[in-house]
């Protein structure tokens, strides 16, 4: 293969080297694509409510993330799950690792009638505390 060289005897001093720019653009495009896709999958289009208080996430255990969208769709760690299967799934996860915290990521516009059954099922699984995810108020 013919290798690229930035050193050329034919007037190389008068040219602009565009290789770094191309590299940066390609990396940015790939980065945006990946991050955008991951963010959509993980957050499931949930607008969190804002709060002026809260605690930072502890890194001791990876939490079980329960997502609740505005139309009542439920997910565990980003995977959609039927409401009928939710109780069994969350109970199994809690039994396997009882010290794992539960984070509830519910949409700010979701009706409490949608959120309450999920919280009750979490409670009935033997979990007495939950962390409600919020956005930090500026």
């Amino acid at each position: 293969m013919r290798s690229r060289s930035i050193i050329s005897n034919e007037g190389a001093g008068a040219r602009i080297n565009v290789t770094p720019m191309i590299d940066v653009v390609m990396v940015l495009i790939v980065f945006y694509l990946l991050v955008g896709q991951l963010a959509v999958d993980r957050k499931a289009q949930i607008d969190l409510p804002a709060s002026a208080t809260g605690i930072e996430q502890t890194q001791e255990h990876d939490p079980i993330i329960v997502g609740i969208t505005v139309d009542g769709q439920v997910s565990i760690n980003g995977n959609h799950i039927d409401n009928a299967r939710f109780a069994g799934e969350i109970k199994g996860m809690h039994t396997r690792s009882p010290r794992t915290p539960i984070q509830v990521r519910a949409d700010r516009d979701a009706a409490f009638g949608v959120v309450r059954p999920i919280m009750h099922q979490i409670r009935d699984a033997g979990i007495s505390r939950a962390q409600l995810a919020t956005e930090q108020q500026p």
Binding site: V27, P49, T53, G54, Q57, D109, G113, E135
Partner: protein
């Protein structure tokens, strides 16, 4: 006829002395230096690293940072009664949220129901030393938006009250 041709050749081809005497205000990087012939070219990697670094910094400041409100999910009326059979029950304030003319109202603070903003102000106006020992039990009707529960929870957490959602 040959006069104009001579003039143009003078303008397009300055003498080598004139080129070297041209002032250079800043020192330019020269890709043709001898050292650039050897080893990998680090410039693209440095560029990429800096761009990613700036992107992370910008997205961290623009995107909303998250944190968490600790909430209890009690089975009984008083969460303390679950764990300790003989301790005195913790004083509990019950807040019942409901919608009235699309406004979130709270029953349990005072004789008459108040709007949630009024209740939030009342909670924030409490003596912190008194409020610290209380548990705020939140109950809400189905049509109350989840944001209202978090608003009340936030005010109680600010006063270091424990919050139980029922």
């Amino acid at each position: 006829m040959s006069q104009p041709a001579d003039q143009s050749s003078k303008h397009t081809q300055p003498s080598t002395d004139a080129i070297y005497k041209r002032p250079r205000p800043l020192k330019r990087r020269n890709v043709l230096t001898r050292s650039s012939r050897f080893g990998p070219n680090m410039t693209p990697m440095v560029d990429v690293t800096l761009v990613i670094l700036i992107f992370f910094m910008a997205s961290a400041s623009i995107g909303g940072l998250e944190w968490f409100l600790q909430s209890e999910l009690p089975k009984t009326q008083d969460p303390d009664l679950q764990s300790s059979g003989y301790s005195l029950p913790t004083p509990m304030i019950s807040a019942d949220l409901f919608l009235q003319n699309r406004t979130v109202m709270v029953r349990g603070f005072g004789d008459q129901p108040s709007t949630i903003d009024v209740v939030v102000d009342r909670i924030k106006g409490m003596d912190p030393s008194d409020a610290k020992g209380f548990i705020l039990g939140i109950r809400a009707q189905d049509d109350v938006p989840y944001e209202a529960i978090v608003l009340l929870h936030d005010a109680a957490s600010l006063m270091e009250m424990r919050v139980a959602i029922r």
